[in-house]
């Protein structure tokens, strides 16, 4: 039998060791990236988007196009979106998606994005949230978007004899890329972004409201080639309500500023 003061010290040591063990487990789990048990059950494909990018990447264009055409990629983008904005998958949230094409329209779309996310409707009940192809706001990019930038498709497409200079360093591209392939990669990425409307509508129980600034956009660009066909499908299935801005100053709260429905989409510029 231990003396009373030894029992006291032994208990303190035991408590200390247990606390240290718990601390070590927390550190270990966070380093290994094991999610907490309450993580939202979304299908995430097994690609390594969580691995930090340290420099330019040179995947092959065919391999990339195949990955981006797979509907699994839509699930991955959705998982990345709700990782920074859980309200996108919360029943009742009114989610908005922004689209732009053509000169001058990018800024208009960002203005609407900010007006929704930073205006009074963001804290209304139920809340409103707006996303675009780059991320869940003008500031938070999807990891997949950051990664596709790090793959430097257009830099590679404008390289010379299979070499490309990125951040001042000359690289030999193991998989030279054409402009058509770079367009296809961004096009498929944008199509899968558009398909997120289905997952969002199913999670929130509300059709996504889609705001398009495409006045003056050309037929051979990503909006008309990749995004509009997907938007038409989303609309037909009841997952999206699609609106087209009449002017660059269109106000999302004023129905008079918008053309309703993909059937009335503006004709592309010639």
């Amino acid at each position: 039998m231990a003396l009373p003061f030894l029992t006291l010290y032994r208990n303190k040591w035991t408590v200390g060791i247990v606390l240290l063990a718990i601390l070590a487990m927390i550190v270990l789990l966070s380093v290994l990236g094991i999610p907490p048990s309450g993580t939202y059950p979304v299908t995430v494909c097994s690609t390594d988007y969580s691995i930090p990018v340290t420099g330019p990447l040179f995947p092959g264009p065919a391999e990339k196009i195949t990955a981006l055409k797979d509907p699994v990629f839509t699930g991955q983008l959705f998982a990345e979106a709700i990782a920074t904005e859980p309200l996108l998958a919360t029943p009742g949230t009114q989610v908005h998606m922004g689209f732009w094409s053509g000169r001058g329209n990018h800024g208009s779309m960002l203005r609407v994005l900010d007006a929704i996310n930073e205006g009074p409707e963001a804290s209304a009940v139920p809340p409103n949230r707006a996303i675009w192809d780059e991320g869940t706001s003008a500031y938070y990019n999807y990891p997949s978007y950051t990664r596709i930038l790090d793959e430097h498709w257009y830099e590679r497409a404008s390289g010379i004899n299979g070499t490309v200079i990125i951040f001042g360093k000359l690289y030999t591209d193991p998989h030279p890329v054409t402009v058509a392939e770079a367009d296809k990669i961004w096009g498929e990425y944008s199509a899968r972004y558009t398909d997120m409307a289905e997952l969002i509508a199913q999670a929130t129980g509300k059709p996504v409201r889609v705001w398009c600034f495409v006045q003056g956009a050309r037929a051979n660009r990503i909006f008309y080639q990749y995004e509009l066909p997907q938007l038409q499908q989303m609309e037909q299935k009841g997952f999206a309500q699609v609106f087209f801005a009449k002017t660059v100053d269109a106000d999302w709260t004023n129905p008079e500023d918008w053309i309703n429905g993909t059937a009335n989409a503006p004709a592309p510029a010639s």
């Binding site: 000169r103 830099e155 990503i222």
Partner: protein, 107 residues
């Protein structure tokens, strides 16, 4: 000039209509990095790079419509026009600007 270029073409990657960061913000960011340069020189650099961003948008649009022909020669012709319109940058910067312009005009 290089700092202004990096802010618009490497870090922002946003077409000329992008409202953020605005001119004041961009100018402050340039001046934060080059304390010894005059405000006028920083402003001139920003104006030149912004002009480049507008020019590259037009040139990439024209490239996409086949106005420079096709293949590698078309690409080099487009970059040569950019070089002529906005002199004073490195070859890497012209190629980077062209690549970013191609991304802007893809959408």
């Amino acid at each position: 000039m290089t700092i202004a270029f990096d802010l618009i073409f490497r870090q922002g990657r946003s077409p000329p209509s992008c409202p953020a960061p605005n001119d004041t913000d961009l100018l402050n960011r340039i001046r934060d990095k080059v304390h010894n340069e005059s405000p006028a020189m920083c402003r001139d650099a920003l104006i030149r790079i912004q002009r480049l961003s507008h020019d590259v948008y037009d040139i990439c649009n024209a490239f996409r419509e086949g106005e420079y022909g096709s293949g590698d020669e078309a690409l080099e012709a487009a970059i040569a026009v950019l070089r002529k319109k906005c002199p004073g940058l490195s070859d890497e910067q012209y190629r980077k600007a062209f690549a970013v312009g191609m991304m802007w005009t893809a959408f």
